[in-house]
């Protein structure tokens, strides 16, 4: 028996509160998702019973903590269908995962004259590290544009791929428009040209397919906090062959095999990339989040989220003076809009007074905003615990803000 989606909401303690005298309507899930009770409990259990430094301890707590931490690695490997658990490197989040690859893959494989391809739809975290890598190495930074529907221009992408290309870095879902990029096709095209692909899955792993072997992704990065897990933990998946060939990134305890005065050798995967005492509890909480998520039937969950998004798109498009941004063939969980005459910041602040949490501004995607010729958007973003009532509340809130502003003019 799978868990029913309607039972989800009650599992998230934070949702059961008043904000500014209104029941909280949390629609800022693309920024960070809330945590089910079981995730919070897993952290409490860890600190109340098992906390110890891991991997090199011989006492019972250290062994329990190590087992829990490494079981979490296996859970996560299973969830994204990695071939080996040691292809899972724990990081602080998507941003650190991408930086790790930019530094380490960059050191090993990128030199002057080479090219890196990203897209105009990227979050700064999948844009700036590559931009800076190119600057450091004298490589060329190439950006695939998107069209007015918010879709990547695959013809331009194909024309950019060449024997100079060292890596393609692209998100599966855009965090500002919600575009679902044709990630399998992009990976196939890149692989035909012999180029590896890093997938920024920060906005997709919690909603869409996440089978790294089916996708044939070379690198796959995501953040725990956006998939109902704790803050401060993220994942870098890398194919074993790449991770083996890459030099370490951070150095220090844990990632060392041998240190003498004039020579240092490194530990095996994944520890080579995990210097210092890890965030022991973070992965444990993340595994609890995944255990929570996989209780639902994936097809049912996807239908539910798609239905909710479409309901939102429909209701929002009925609001006068409201513009929805992008019109991609496939969109995931993100509703980006503006209302004429009301700045996005003002909309956010005023909605908050009705207890409605949305995000406003550039969403760390300045190139997207520049391309659209706007300073920002209001972004409502959905999670599995959201309901049609949440959308209704949002729509009502927008209308009330419109009335407030209309009174003024």
């Amino acid at each position: 028996m799978t868990k029913s989606i309607s039972s989800a909401r009650a599992d998230f303690p934070i949702l059961n509160q008043l904000v500014n005298d209104h029941p909280l309507v949390y629609l800022d899930n693309a920024a960070t998702a809330q945590k089910p009770r079981s995730v919070i409990d897993s952290l409490v259990h860890y600190y109340e019973f098992d906390n110890a430094n891991i991997h090199r301890g011989n006492h019972t707590l250290a062994i329990r903590a190590t087992e829990a931490h490494e079981a979490a690695r296996s859970t996560i490997a299973g969830f994204i269908n990695a071939q080996y658990a040691h292809e899972i490197v724990f990081t602080r989040g998507t941003t650190e995962s991408i930086n790790l690859v930019a530094y380490s893959f960059g050191e090993a494989f990128v030199k002057a004259g080479d090219e890196i391809i990203v897209t105009e739809l990227e979050h700064h975290s999948n844009y700036v590290p590559w931009f800076l890598l190119c600057k450091r190495k004298g490589a060329t930074f190439r950006v695939v544009p998107f069209d007015q529907d918010g879709e990547l221009d695959l013809e331009v992408f194909k024309s950019m791929l060449s024997e100079k290309t060292r890596l393609v870095a692209v998100n599966h879902v855009s965090n500002s428009l919600g575009t679902v990029n044709p990630i399998s096709e992009i990976i196939q095209l890149a692989h035909q040209a012999g180029v590896p692909v890093l997938v920024d899955a920060a906005q997709s792993v919690q909603h869409l397919d996440h089978d790294v072997q089916a996708l044939d992704a070379d690198f796959y990065a995501f953040s725990g906090h956006k998939i109902y897990g704790p803050t401060g933990v993220g994942v870098l998946y890398g194919k074993e062959k790449w991770l083996e060939e890459m030099p370490p990134f951070l150095s220090g305890g844990e990632m060392i095999e041998n240190v003498t005065c004039d020579k240092v050798t490194f530990n095996t995967l994944p520890f080579k990339f995990e210097a210092g005492t890890p965030d022991v509890s973070g992965p444990i909480g993340l595994a609890a989040a995944i255990d929570y998520l996989i209780q639902f039937d994936p097809a049912e969950l996807k239908d539910y989220e798609t239905d909710l998004l479409n309901y939102g798109l429909e209701l929002l498009s009925d609001i006068p003076d409201l513009t929805i941004y992008g019109n991609p063939k496939h969109r995931s969980s993100i509703l980006p809009f503006n209302v004429a005459g009301i700045q996005h910041y003002d909309m956010g602040v005023l909605l908050d007074n009705y207890g409605i949490a949305v995000r406003t501004g550039q969403h760390c995607t300045q190139p997207v905003m520049d391309a659209l010729g706007i300073t920002g958007t209001v972004r409502a973003s959905l999670a599995l615990y959201n309901t049609r009532e949440d959308i209704d509340a949002l729509v009502n809130g927008i209308k009330r803000v419109q009335r407030l502003f209309r009174r003024k003019s």
Partner: protein, 139 residues
Amino acid sequence: MKTIPEIEAQFIDDFNQLENWEEKYDYLIELGDSLPEMPAELKTADNLVKGCQSSVWFATRCEDGRLFIEADSDSLIIKGIVAILVQLLSGQPSSDIAHADLTMFETLGLWRHLSSQRSNGVTAMMAHLKQSAATCQIN
């Protein structure tokens, strides 16, 4: 001309008379509406205040130790805040501006948004104005 604390007291009084947050925002937006229009050529990158989520421009002019301020924002809420700052500070002796603390914004009871670290800009705006005040001497 009234002093900064006097004007502050007046604003606190005004806001206290408003019953609910809708009325307060109404009043704030009205204040913004009353702000004299800022010439487009003053909206330069230099006059843009960093650290604000909305665009906020301040142009300052120093006359004999007093700082005169023109300002604008693309957010009507922030424009209201900006209008309060202009009414409070524009034309005041720069030394008074340098010493103003503007904890008033916390007591208006309106916008926790505006007193918090980065989302707001009151801090950033004040820092910007204090810097201008610091270079404005009596001559």
